[in-house]
Symmetry: C2
Subunit: 565 residues, 2 copies
């Protein structure tokens, strides 16, 4: 069952659900005409189906490996990357001055979603470069931009992010990698970084590492961290890669999934690096990159969910068994139908959230309005955590639909679960996302959240005439989300964290109800049925999640000794 | 972090939660004195920790393989199996006339739980033999019993179950394997069986296959199926394995997990078999074996959940990171604490359900009372589905607690998820369990269910003086379960299936609340805190699950074409 890009689904979401027309109406994105959007989606779909999807199994069975210090990538990955790069796909949203297309991030998000469904291990590579491009566009000097951006956007070079160290994971501030001035404006970077996605490859001319490190006068914690660009080969002024820098891949991890993507331990031994952004201002630059990457990772979950749904549906409609009526295949069984409907309904909800987040980012960029920036900031952790959780859940349900065949690797369903499992961990675990939501993103006393909840309520009221039952359910859910938000905002931020994950999930559930309700009023009968399924059966989860909100004490009441007892 | 058997937890559950004293009070199980129970639990724990747990990683990295038709098992598995067999552990509950200990199944369940936590791939082997022993005890002729039971109970021989065929999975009735009379009382078995767990090994003197097949006059469907015992080597009258039977392992599956356990495609080419039970009565015999095995599989989920919890707790209390107060380890973070408390609370709930199911089976055996048999029949699908779902969820949360390390295979957390994933599929998918619950198990007009709900309500009332808030919550939840049960019973059975899975999960949630409430009144402060966590934060899920119950039509409303749109 070959992967099929959901081109028409993206078109529907952009046209009817997430308000993409507002993006296209801005001067900044005036080029994103319906024709252009159509062409982008169609071509992206074709590329993902024909070039990227065939890598999925080979990438799993021929893991990337380290040979005498050189990373060997799975067969076909180099060729596929070349095709992605040649089509200009890495820089869909990058600055045209450096070779990008300057199109909305919403289209990049749709493309990344499709590519994730086709082959997540491959998709990770351009995703890393996209994050680096974004960070350099915002924070690098003009010289660095001129030298690096065209190469990264064209795909001649690839980019990576180096945050984690063995003792510094979620707590980035604990890092110990050092940066010492060389006296010529460059810095000597020394330290070890772990979990470096696509830390090296054998198909690009250079690999550019963005590395967090501490200058000699950097204070402890996150405020003393600076960001450096550290290329594998040091380029001359014309951008020709020259001398080998003092950095190397020490080892590759043996992972649950994503075998095609090399995850490296990197050793920097006085490697030459260039400062990006101000001294001790590394975290701000990193957050630019991470916020982009967080939406990107949420999108990965959605893309894999789509692939898992397609595989399960194909199995269910192809497998003849039992006394099923109709087609005689297992899709006639109520429980199989329930699983598939649930997968499809959650896929829609999670995808709408990631695209709405991208729209907000595009609007913020195009209008400079704080309200859009706040909307994007609010939606980013929700898109990341819900998208990836749903990715895992749908991948697991996909296995279940396959029955015994789901446990057999050749089926491909198990690989999707193995691959997607890390997405709820990297770029900030989903727990970190939820803490970001209830902490930083409610630090405006909930203003951005309440504005969104108001919109959901207004949408429900508008839909009431057409879909009274569904509209009332969404309205009530939004109101209980409002109550929960008020309760959290009233607390000291530190007292919100035990409820962070349930609250984020409840927020996503309500958003999903909202988007389904919008879809239900589109006039397509199947959309209304799917919305009813979601609102009747999945939306109620929000209530059980919020039910525990008054019980925060129960979490920390249990001491570690009591947990171990 | 070596696996620690939860010996004192089993003691607490038996003594205070699941009413094991009633089993020990029967004549049949009079030998199950507190001293004996203590000795069994302690020795079982020691065996699992020292002999079985060390197999976990090697079994994964050295998968069972097929060499020239011979199955080679991972290093150490043969020695460990010998130790299990020598200790008499396979036959804890088997008939003493044939070498068993005749002890309650509740103790076998505790042992299986521990062994599953130590190494699931190894545990599967004796579990299969236990199922075969149970089936033969109930359905085989005296001659077959005399010949086979002592060998299976001693572990000299191993047993397997052969149900599935490529076109007959959940629909066993579609099988096409043939059994033709040889004229001497034996039958010639011909056909292919797939997904045969431990289909062969290189450490037992014989492998005995229970095979479902159709006699020439067997009608289509399940009513035409008979059960046959088909040994790898045909034993003489003294039980010495002789001539090689016409059966072979064609291939082993490449699976997501359980690499240490060979999953075989078996080919029977006129192999000699002996009828077990009456002609065309194979399904009844198979159900004996499957009901036992279903509880056994639920227990597998629980055991893996325990291992995953232990690993995560050890990581969380050992990993220093960030500005955490107290110990300075990540267990001080509210969200990590929330994850661990949730794992522990669900582990307790699922384990109490499996043990309560075992107690009911023991009581049915000891007293012959239909009410106990009905209780066991009701609890079996719940124990199977909830135990395995919780196993998967806790294994996945365990990965999450590890952060990035959770995705690295060496950590061991990922293997637990890979291994446990099949438990919600085999021995009847969890969807099949749920259909069994709302169909067959409510066919008594809900009598057994209502009786259990009455007990839960009575328990809540008894606990009200001591734990008013918790007791009220459990009481109310039980009442909404009663309403839902009444609604389902009022429907035609075929119209219950779309709600089967949510209903089963809600039932398990309420049972978990009941058992936590019982534990909360034990006087241990930590038990009360854990109960509060469960009842405040996890029990409310039942309401959201039951909320969709009136919306059954939404499931089948979506046609396959609409799902694919």
């Amino acid at each position: 069952m070959p992967y099929q890009a959901s081109v028409s689904e993206f078109r529907f979401l952009l046209d009817h659900v997430v308000g993409f027309e507002r993006v296209a109406d801005t001067d900044r994105f005036a080029e994103a005409t319906p024709e252009t959007v159509d062409a982008i989606l169609t071509e992206a779909g074709r590329l993902c189906q024909t070039i990227v999807a065939p890598l999925q199994r080979p990438g799993d069975t021929n893991p990337a490996r380290l040979e005498n210090g050189i990373v060997r990538t799975p067969p076909g990955f180099g060729e596929a990357f070349a095709a992605i790069a040649e089509g200009g796909w890495i820089g869909i949203s990058a600055d045209p001055d450096y070779g990008g297309m300057g199109l909305p991030l919403t289209l990049t998000t749709a493309f990344n979603d499709m590519m994730a469904g086709a082959c997540l291990a491959m998709q990770l590579n351009p995703l890393m470069s996209q994050g680096q491009i974004e960070a350099l566009e915002h924070h690098a000097s003009d010289e660095l931009k001129a030298l690096y951006l065209p190469k990264l956007i064209s795909g001649e070079w690839c980019g990576t992010m180096n945050l984690t160290e063995p003792q510094a994971g979620s707590d980035v501030g604990a890092l110990s990698t050092k940066a010492e001035p060389n006296g010529d404006g460059t810095f000597a970077i020394t330290g070890q970084k772990i979990y470096i996605t696509w830390g090296d490859n054998d198909f690009s001319d250079n690999v550019c590492h963005l590395v967090l490190a501490r200058l000699p006068d950097g204070q402890p914690g996150t405020r003393g961290i600076s960001l450096f660009l550290v290329p594998k080969y040091i380029p001359d002024a014309d951008g020709t890669p020259g001398e080998r820098n003092s950095l190397q891949v020490v080892s590759l991890e043996h992972k649950l999934g994503l075998h095609g993507s090399p995850t490296a331990v990197m050793e920097y031994s006085g490697a030459t690096g260039w400062l990006v952004g101000p001294e001790h201002g590394g975290m701000a630059a990193m957050f630019t990159m991470m916020n982009n990457a967080r939406l990107g990772v949420g999108t990965q979950g959605v893309g894999v969910a789509d692939a898992a749904f397609q595989l399960a549906l194909a199995h269910a409609t192809g497998r003849k068994q039992g006394k099923a009526a109709g087609s005689g295949t297992i899709v006639e069984h109520a429980d199989v139908r329930r699983m598939l409907a649930g997968m499809k309904a959650d896929l829609f909800a999670a995808r709408a959230i990631t695209l709405a987040c991208a729209v907000a980012l595009d609007m913020a960029k195009a209008t400079g309005e704080d309200a859009w920036a706040a909307r994007a900031a609010l939606l980013t952790p929700i898109a990341k955590a819900f998208g990836t959780d749903i990715g895992e859940e749908i991948a697991s349900t996909g296995i279940q639909v396959h029955g015994g065949m789901g446990f057999i690797e050749e089926t491909g369903a198990a690989q999707l679960l193995r691959d997607v499992r890390v997405t709820s961990i990297y770029e900030g675990t989903n727990g970190i996302q939820a803490m970001d939501l209830v902490g930083r993103k409610l630090a405006d006393k909930g203003e951005a959240a309440f504005r969104l909840i108001d919109e959901i309520c207004a949408g429900s009221e508008a839909a009431r005439a057409e879909q009274p039952g569904l509209a009332d359910a969404v309205y009530d859910a939004a109101e209980s989300l409002r109550d929960a938000t008020e309760a959290l905002v009233a607390r000291d931020p530190a007292d919100r964290f035990a409820d962070a994950v349930p609250y984020l999930r409840a927020f996503a559930r309500v958003l999903g109800g909202h988007f389904h309700l919008v879809a239900a009023t589109s006039g397509e009968a199947a959309r209304t049925k799917l919305a009813r399924f979601y609102i009747d059966r999945l939306l109620p989860e929000h209530a059980s999640l919020l039910a525990g909100l008054d019980a925060a004490d129960a979490v920390l009441d249990l001491s570690p000794d009591e947990l171990a007892a």
